[in-house]
């Protein structure tokens, strides 16, 4: 409610769309979050289907590795990305030339991806367990190519869970503060702008307005996710 009490009143919500600084931030946050969602869905669906349909030595270890980051806060993930792509990072050491991507949009994207892969994976695997493998076999015996099986049998069966997992990944990326805090020193994404508006500019009304917009968006997305899959995953980060 504080957002409506400033001089600008409720018009402060219009400011988010009118002022280029906020609008650009909004657009960038949505774009990075979308990219994260698409990449996480592609990777985790492939890996999730593979891990739930095959039993082999080392499967348990792969699964543990892929769910371990569930307990990492966003700041730690940001640091891990710095170890990969920072100035003293692995990539900069093993490649010739100066390759530092941790503090760019690429780094932020990788950080969000790191965060999302385990969450999407668990949702997809829970759904894959319930999918009847006999349907796939039936399609195969009827002469469907592996591609057709994926497109016409597996994906439709997984669809509600994929939408749910996508909504979770998107909402988490939109609200991810910890990762942005360590990586986005020069990038404006919504959580960082809320933070700087609040602490540095003391523009509390704008910080509150942005938080409310962000909160409503993530809440609505997770409501969709929950009604489709019934899972609960924290929107931390």
């Amino acid at each position: 409610m504080v957002s409506g009490e400033s001089e600008a009143g409720w018009a402060i919500y219009l400011d988010i769309l009118r002022k280029p600084r906020y609008l650009n931030t909004l657009v960038l946050t949505v774009l990075v979050s979308l990219a994260t969602t698409v990449a996480a869905l592609a990777i985790s669906t492939t890996a999730g289907m593979f891990l739930s349909r095959n039993r082999f030595k080392g499967r348990g270890i792969l699964l543990s590795i892929m769910t371990l980051p569930l307990a990492f806060p966003g700041v730690v993930i940001g640091f891990l990305i710095i170890l990969l792509g920072g100035r003293q990072g692995l990539v900069n050491q093993i490649t010739p030339g100066h390759v530092v991507f941790a503090y760019s949009v690429v780094g932020l994207f990788l950080g969000y991806l790191y965060f999302s892969i385990p969450r999407v994976l668990l949702t997809v695997m829970a759904a894959a367990e319930k999918l009847d493998p006999e349907l796939e076999e039936a399609a195969r015996t009827l002469g469907a190519s592996p591609y057709r099986v994926v497109v016409n049998v597996i994906l439709p069966g997984l669809m509600p869970s994929l939408v749910a997992a996508g909504a979770i990944a998107f909402a988490t990326a939109m609200g991810a503060f910890g990762t942005a805090f360590t990586l986005a020193t020069n990038i404006d994404v919504i959580p960082m702008v809320i933070y700087t508006e609040f602490t540095l500019s003391a523009n509390i009304a704008m910080a509150a307005a942005l938080s409310i917009v962000l909160g409503i968006v993530t809440w609505a997305l997770l409501l969709i996710a929950r009604s489709l899959s019934g899972t609960t995953v924290a929107a931390g980060g």
Binding site: M66, A71, G74, V75, S211, G215
Partner: protein, 263 residues
């Protein structure tokens, strides 16, 4: 074993993702025990950075543990009766209440923290005490406790069990203690481990609520990432891993067990 093209492709994607997730963790662990990360592993292995972390940040580790324990107690005291009440009186009102309790799950921690600061920020004594951070942690973890217990309670015929006990002369308190709590135990255990794991790892809320004298482990981590040399930051992360990874595994085991029981 994996003969078809599709399987090889799937395996490649899985292994690539695992590499992407695992390599930075290994780098972090290595950097924490290497004498000089810039020179590489040839500079020798050492535990001096871990000891340095202990000197600098032991307080933050103890504060996080203390917060996790108090947060667990608070969520148990609030969450167990809440879940029991919701399970005993199903209906639209309970659904609405459950949705209300679950709101902090969906709203980013940053927004929650701002709301708490707006509401209580002017109460100086409260604002500067560790209980302020505790309130944030309880708000954030309570839904996990309630839902975890509720899922187990909802799967059994609580009403019949309680009626049976009541007809044998058990008081409401005896029924709660001897029937509800033992039956809800798998849910309580899973919820408790989730609460502790989340509380120890919580950053978004805590960063906004903390004061310079009250740093939790993740807040200390952010601090070390910004101001310490890479080896110290890595050693600190290593300490965090040692604490959180067993907790995560216990949590996953308990949650899977609770889920099996509630099905």
């Amino acid at each position: 074993m994996f003969k078809t093209k599709t399987k090889i492709l799937q395996l490649t994607v899985t292994l690539t993702a695992c590499t992407f997730l695992l390599v930075p963790m290994i780098l972090s662990v290595m950097a924490g025990v290497t004498a000089n990360y810039f020179q590489g592993i040839s500079s020798g292995l050492t535990l001096k950075w871990v000891f340095r972390v202990w000197e600098l940040y032991a307080d933050s580790i103890f504060l996080s543990m203390w917060l996790a324990i108090t947060c667990l107690i608070a969520t148990l005291i609030i969450g167990l009766p809440a879940a029991y009440g919701l399970a005993r009186h199903p209906g639209w009102l309970s659904r609405l209440l459950e949705e209300f309790i679950s709101l902090p799950l969906a709203v980013p921690g940053l927004a929650l923290a701002l709301a708490l600061l707006q509401l209580y920020g002017s109460m100086k004594g409260f604002r500067a005490s560790w209980t302020f951070i505790l309130v944030g942690h309880v708000l954030y973890t309570l839904p996990f406790m309630v839902r975890s217990i509720l899922a187990v309670l909802a799967s059994m015929d609580l009403k019949t069990l309680e009626e049976g006990a009541a007809s044998l002369g058990a008081s409401p308190w005896q029924r709660f203690r001897d029937i509800v709590v033992p039956n809800a135990m798998p849910g309580i255990l899973a919820g408790a481990l989730t609460v502790v794991t989340l509380s120890i790892g919580e950053f978004n809320l805590t960063w906004m609520l903390h004061t310079p004298y009250l740093k939790t482990l993740p807040v200390g981590l952010a601090d070390s990432y910004a101001s310490m040399r890479l080896e110290v930051a890595s050693a600190y992360t290593l300490v965090f891993f040692v604490l959180i990874v067993p907790l995560l595994m216990a949590m996953q085991w308990a949650s899977a067990r609770a889920q099996r029981i509630s099905q």
